[in-house]
Structures are given as structure tokens and as C-alpha cells.
Symmetry: C2
Subunit: 133 residues, 2 copies
DNA sequence: TTACATAGTGTTATATTATAACAAAATAAA
DNA sequence: TTTATTTTGTTATAATATAACACTATGTAA
């Protein structure tokens, strides 16, 4: 019998959490996700955090460290993301993922003077967006 | 009478917190700072967080967002810091501030394609340090 | 199929990080 | 001085995140 390829390798909770994050217009906080999925039977923080951890691991979402919030990855389709950059508006709180090959290339090849070899980076820019400036 | 210039514009709590952070070999967490200064009469979290906020504002320390920890600024002497970059070893947890004019210049002048004007950025590199790799 | 390993779930409790709110004291400026 | 501003001390609580454990589902290989 031919081997069936699973189309979707996400578990139930992972899919629920990802759906919410993908539908959102901006970064979501873990507990706001929790409140939004309680009707779907997810009741406790660990269920959310476990899904978030997995989604980050497989590159479906990113954590905005300065905001403790989570956004869907829209730039690289489903790849594990080791190089992330975001622009954050300090006025309206809008967050955008920056997809710029030259930036990403520059940083990915950057080597610290102290001899560290980087595997991953996260860059967060702050300022005023088009609308707010 | 000639105006006296204050040599040190930090308040008592701010100085205590800064001293601890400057003496530390790596990033310190807010509550670990708290436990370390209880002998000096600082008893509650708000006293720590207020000092930390002020020290960040005047550029004496930085927050490592991915670790919720604080380090003294060693690169720019006492300037307000709008452009920070760190290397973080994923094995030994060592954190170093990166002072590289070309990196800082590159990022400071970077403009998002979406028309945002940046005031500030924070970059965190992850990898293995010299010792750990 | 069975046996086993791995990943995911549900749950309770608790740890960790951070802020709100308010009154009092210290400092700076007019 | 008087007034404004900053800093402090304090209690309480909000917000973010993980530990631990028993159980279920799924994947893999004999």
C-alpha cells in the first residue's frame, strides 16, 4: 500500500493556536490566546505555551521578545527561522516582519570579533511607522 | 555663588542597583538583584524596577530581552543607548555587548521598505562562544 | 497485529517577572 | 521660602511562564 503523507503535521492544539495567531492583525500575548481558545476546550497555560514552543521551533511563528508576544511568520514559508527582524511602531504598536535579503545576509554572515559563530539572531527596530510619524 | 555641579546624578537606589550590575560577570535578573540588596534596605520589587527603568533610560544598563536580564553598558560611556547589540552563548549563557561601528552604522541607517523611520534597535545574536564551540 | 517509543494532552499548582496605587520624604527650581 | 518634581517605601496584585504527573494518541518496527 502506498505510504500516506500527512498533509498537516500539527497537532490539534498547535493548529488551534496557529490559526488564532495567523488571523490576528498584530502580535498576540499568550494569555490573550488562552482566553480566545477556551471555547475550544483549551483551559490552561501549559497547553498554550507548549503549542507556542513547538510553533516557534518549526518556524511558523516568532516571539517578539520586547513585547512577550507572538506573530505568525509571513516571510519564509514554513522554514525554520533563525534570522528574524521586526519593525515596531512605538506609537500604534504595529509590528512588521522585515524581509530583506541584504539585511539578512549581512547579519547572518556577521561574525563577532570575539570569535563567536552565530547560529541565529533576532533584531527589533523601534520607531514610528508611516502613519504615526 | 558659583553653581555646584553634581558629580553623580544617580539616586541612592539607582546607585546601589547599578553597582551590583556593574560588578556582575553576566546579566542579572531583577529578583536576583533584589535578593542581593535586601541587606542594604531595599525590600520590594518596585524599588528595583524603578531603578532599572531609570538606568536603562540614561543608558547605564541594557535589558537583554530574550533573557529578562540586565547588563551594564560597557561600550558607550554614559550615552543614552539607542543602538544595542549582544552576542549570547547558548551553551554557557555568556553575554557580550558588541561594539562595532560598522554594524551600528549599518543598522542605524537602515530604513525599512515600508517607510518607517527608526529611532532605536536591539539585536541579539545566539550561538556558541569561543570556549564552547 | 503487537510491542515499544515518542509526542501530545489535560490538570493542578506554583514559580517568575512586572506593575498599580498611594502616602511620605528628599531634592531641585522658582 | 514655596512649589514642583523626583525618589522612596509599602502593600497588593497583575502578567508571564514552567514543573510535575498521569494519561492518550500517534508513529515505527518486529
Amino acid at each position: 500500500m502506498t505510504r500516506m503523507l500527512k498533509e498537516n503535521n500539527l497537532s490539534k492544539n498547535q493548529q488551534i493556536v496557529l490559526d488564532i495567531i495567523e488571523k490576528a492583525k498584530g502580535p498576540l500575548k499568550a494569555y490573550s490566546i488562552l482566553f480566545n481558545v477556551q471555547k475550544k476546550g483549551i483551559k490552561a497555560p501549559p497547553q498554550i505555551y507548549r503549542a507556542l514552543d513547538k510553533l516557534i521551533e518549526i518556524g511558523k511563528i516568532h516571539k517578539i521578545e520586547s513585547k512577550n508576544a507572538f506573530v505568525a511568520c509571513r516571510s519564509s514559508n514554513c522554514e525554520i527561522s533563525k534570522a528574524t527582524a521586526f519593525s515596531i511602531c512605538e506609537s500604534c504598536e504595529k509590528v512588521d516582519e522585515i524581509s530583506d535579503k541584504s539585511l539578512s545576509k549581512y547579519l547572518s554572515s556577521y561574525n563577532d570579533k570575539k570569535g563567536m559563530k552565530f547560529k541565529k539572531f533576532n533584531l527589533e527596530f523601534f520607531g514610528l511607522c508611516k502613519k504615526c510619524k
